[in-house]
């Protein structure tokens, strides 16, 4: 078995999609909450005109968390004409619905309303936009924020999704989909690495969206001449490019601050307000990743490669022995029902 196949097995072990069985309870909860939110918004005088999933579930970069808790990232859109002047008003409506539906600790944060559903290990983030024409504005502000802070802030939620899924860059020429899939796998690998390697307090501040954007901007696809992906090399090259990509600003005291701008409106720094401790730890650990990946690349033994990668990604990355046990025991069939082909004779 190739090291690439082991990466694929690792990816299969950590990936999560909205359609997965494991996500079923969360999906059902999301759907029932959505219905309640729509009813409440309608009653409040600003009916929901559009709703969509955003975040990693929308971009197919979600991973399973080690403790099996699940996220819902739901966006609600109301018409600008009906929207209250105070954006926090709509967030209060969200908050009250969540509280009635059994969520604990529902909080109005600056960009969203967030809450946990303890019995399902479910975490929910709900954002509200108002829409005028094609323009979206995000409801920003906390429950007690002053008027100076509260605002309907121009935003481009779909633009971000499009940016993540974009494959128009020259690096995607030839087997475009395979390269985009490789990018998304790398995002999942790095998110799992983040979950494995950072203490809880820092882990929460190494934002998924930050990792996703850096990887997107610095992505170095690697397929061999036969078109076979080489995730190990691609991850190594991409991490190396991130480290030299200008995201980490050295401070005079030897620490680092990380700065990654959103690639779409409002183009804010994703890590705005992030501490030097976070930046420094992020920088140091990324450098460790690069060293370990280089070591794995130089290693010829599959066993040793797996051992190195398990140090980075945890136990969901199979050992070489796991590979041998599985090998030949079952035929791995395609998950596609059919594929359009260009073959003729």
């Amino acid at each position: 078995m190739s090291i690439q196949r082991k990466f694929i097995n690792f990816h299969n072990a950590i990936k999560l999609s909205r359609e997965d069985d494991k996500y079923r309870d969360a999906r059902e909860k999301d759907e029932s909450i959505l219905a309640a939110l729509k009813a409440a918004f309608k009653e409040a005088g600003y009916p929901v005109i559009e709703t969509f999933i955003q975040g990693s579930l929308r971009t197919a970069t979600t991973i399973k968390h080690p403790k099996n808790d699940f996220d819902i990232d739901r966006a609600l859109v109301i018409d600008s004409a009906n929207a209250p002047e105070d954006p926090v008003e709509v967030k209060k409506v969200v908050c009250s619905v969540l509280e009635k539906r059994g969520f604990k600790d529902a909080k109005i944060k600056m960009p969203c309303v967030t809450a946990d559903y303890a019995s399902l290990n479910l975490h929910i983030d709900i954002v509200v936009y108002r829409k005028s024409g094609d323009n979206y504005e995000l409801a920003v502000g906390k429950r007690n924020s002053g008027d100076a802070v509260k605002e309907w802030s121009p935003s481009d939620p779909k633009g971000l999704i499009d940016n993540i899924n974009d494959k128009s860059s020259y690096v995607y020429i030839g087997s475009t989909e395979d390269k985009l899939c490789q990018y998304k796998r790398l995002v999942r690998y790095m998110k799992r690495w983040r979950d494995e390697k950072f203490e809880d307090s820092v882990r929460k501040k190494v934002y998924s969206i930050g990792i996703t954007v850096m990887l997107k901007e610095q992505f170095k696809p690697v397929l061999n001449e036969e078109g076979k992906p080489d995730d190990l090399q691609a991850l190594r090259d991409t991490v190396a490019a991130i480290l030299t990509g200008g995201y980490f600003k050295p401070q005079v005291d030897g620490n680092y601050r990380v700065k990654v701008d959103l690639p779409v409106t409002p183009s804010r720094d994703i890590f705005d307000g992030s501490s030097a401790a976070t930046g420094t730890q992020f920088w140091n650990k990324l450098n460790t990743v690069l060293r370990k990946l280089d070591k794995a690349l130089a290693e010829e033994s599959l066993k040793k490669q797996c051992d190195i990668l398990r140090e980075l990604f945890g136990d969901d990355f199979e050992t070489a022995e796991d590979a041998n046990r599985n090998e030949g025991a079952k035929v791995a069939f395609s998950t596609a029902g059919s594929v359009g082909t260009s073959q003729g004779a």
């Binding site: 690439q4 299969n12 030839g174 899939c181 395609s334 359009g340 073959q343 003729g344």
Partner: protein, 546 residues
């Protein structure tokens, strides 16, 4: 010019041309005084005897026509070098005389005369009928005199067989085949032919001479064709003939006292046997007994079948349920006359018509029916050219499930002229067809070959007449290119030169694909190994990794 060659004074005369587009000729004057020299043919020009020196085959030399003096000087060097060899080394001269026996024989034959076609496969003493040409026939096999043995292996559907047996040709006389153990160099002139003939007969072993006198030459006739055959050098066999004519019916003359009244005319022959015709066409007689099934007789399969037959594979079995249609004309081997005939049957006719020893058969069946009916391991090779990855993978699974040990060669092309592929799956070696289907994205069995240059799940079909009439856009050059590549691989395998499973691709231009917004794979853009045989094994193939 006068010169000295190997101690002999020699005079060479340049034959002047307005411009030299081939090697300038130097004639050797008074050639007879040097004895019989190889590569020197004696002719009379204006009643002067000259020797034509054969230095090179004209097409084998590219000449500098811009510098005629250089060219003349170079040609002179070549002439002198050759003459030095034949004059200074009698053994080499004798060997060369034998090697070029037939060329020298041709010098004795009347120019413009059609050769005698001889269909002998074995150099054995025998007598056969000679058939007259059809009257007023200027071309085709029926325009020749033919010496045809009754046990010929020529296909009953071949033109040769048809031109003899079906055209009611008259028997012109008898031909006697005489194998020679010792070949005397060809005579210098027609005047010496009788002497050469008697010497040659005289050197025959007694047993052969007796058999000739008592069994084969006693037939009294006005005409006899004698077909001689002998080994020259390097185990090469030559065939040539003499026609003997007499005003009265007489037995074959085998001694000097019987030769009076016979006129002896050297005649050229065209050997129509498998060994000569196949090898002259670049084929191999070692393939004659190989059994190859060609499943799918479309644009690629028909070309593959044709090339295999041309290479000398006699036992081809064509399998295809489709009928030949007008739509097929511009990218298929078959002519218009075969419209509405099963393609497999048409290919059989075509093979028999062009390749006289073909033993092609056909079945109007699909791959799946074929699997059920025929023992696949009967074949040395099964070529699959159906352009249907589902059936191809299914067939592979059938072979695996039933432990059928047979070599397969799958070949297909892709639309828009971007390329084509062939996969040789030799049972028991590294790699199999499914290696070419490992999905690189997840290492599983894929549904779309990883060799392909066009990304999956695109609309590559075109339609002129709506549903049911869709087709992939590609030209005959693409299918022929794919077929030639696949055939070469098949032939290498059948000849024992390719012992490992492998894959081969050719890459074309992407203009047409770009014009149709067809997305191509990373492999297409990186591929630089057109027509190279590459290892087939994919380490993630579940079959090969067991």
């Amino acid at each position: 010019m006068s010169t000295t060659i190997s101690g002999y004074a020699a005079e060479l005369m340049l034959r002047i041309e307005d411009r030299f587009l081939s090697l300038p000729e130097f004639l050797l004057l008074e050639p007879s005084k040097y004895g019989k020299l190889a590569h020197v043919n004696i002719e009379r020009i204006d009643d002067v005897e000259v020797g034509l020196v054969c230095v090179n085959a004209p097409d084998a030399v590219s000449v500098n026509f811009d510098q005629p003096l250089l060219l003349v000087r170079d040609s002179l060097k070549r002439h002198i070098s050759l003459l030095e060899s034949v004059m200074s080394d009698p053994d080499w001269n004798d060997r060369e005389l034998l090697r070029e026996f037939y060329s020298n024989w041709l010098f004795l034959c009347k120019s413009g005369q059609k050769p005698l076609l001889i269909n002998f496969s074995q150099p054995i003493l025998q007598r056969v009928d000679v058939y007259e040409p059809i009257e007023k026939a200027n071309y085709g096999l029926h325009s020749y005199y033919v010496a045809h043995p009754s046990d010929s292996e020529i296909s009953k559907l071949s033109e040769m067989h048809f031109s003899i047996k079906e055209r009611d040709r008259k028997v012109a006389g008898k031909a006697v085949v005489i194998p020679l153990d010792q070949l005397i160099p060809a005579p210098n002139s027609n005047e010496s032919v009788e002497d050469w003939y008697l010497k040659t007969i005289n050197r025959l072993p007694d047993e052969r001479l007796n058999q000739l006198r008592d069994q084969l030459g006693q037939w009294r006739d006005r005409h006899y064709w004698i077909v001689f055959t002998a080994i020259t050098v390097d185990n090469n066999r030559t065939w040539f003939a003499l026609k003997l004519d007499n005003d009265n019916k007489k037995a074959l003359p085998l001694s000097s006292n019987k030769i009076d009244g016979w006129r002896l005319t050297p005649i050229s022959v065209r050997v129509f046997n498998q060994e000569n015709v196949v090898q002259r066409g670049g084929g191999s007689t070692s393939l004659a007994d190989k059994k190859v099934a060609v499943v799918g007789v479309g644009s690629v399969g028909s070309e593959v079948g044709h090339k295999l037959a041309a290479a000398g594979v006699r036992h081809l079995h064509f399998i295809d349920p489709d009928f030949y249609q007008i739509d097929n004309l511009h990218r298929h081997m078959l002519p218009q006359a075969y419209i509405d005939l099963p393609k497999s049957m048409g290919m059989v006719y075509q093979c028999h018509a062009q390749f006289p020893w073909s033993d092609a058969h056909y079945s109007c069946e699909s791959l799946l029916t074929f699997v059920e009916k025929y023992p696949c391991d009967f074949f040395d090779l099964i070529v699959i050219a159906i352009g249907n990855p589902s059936l191809e993978r299914f067939f592979k699974q059938h072979l695996l499930d039933n432990n059928i040990d047979v070599t397969t060669l799958n070949c297909w092309l892709e639309g828009f002229g971007v390329g084509g592929h062939a996969v040789l799956d030799i049972s028991g070696t590294d790699g199999c067809l499914l290696c070419a289907y490992v999905d690189h994205a997840d290492g599983c069995r894929g549904l779309h070959s990883n060799l392909n240059f066009i990304e999956a799940n695109q609309d590559v079909m075109k339609s002129i007449a709506g549903c049911g009439n869709q087709f992939i856009s590609y030209g005959a050059a693409s299918s022929a290119q794919t077929a030639v590549m696949a055939s070469s691989l098949a032939i290498r395998y059948l000849e024992g030169k390719q012992a490992d499973s492998c894959r081969v691709s050719w890459k074309g231009d992407d203009d047409d694909a770009q014009a149709e917004n067809i997305k191509l794979t990373h492999r297409y853009y990186q591929f630089k190994e057109s027509l190279k045989r590459l290892p087939l094994l994919d380490e993630d193939c579940d079959v090969c990794s067991r």
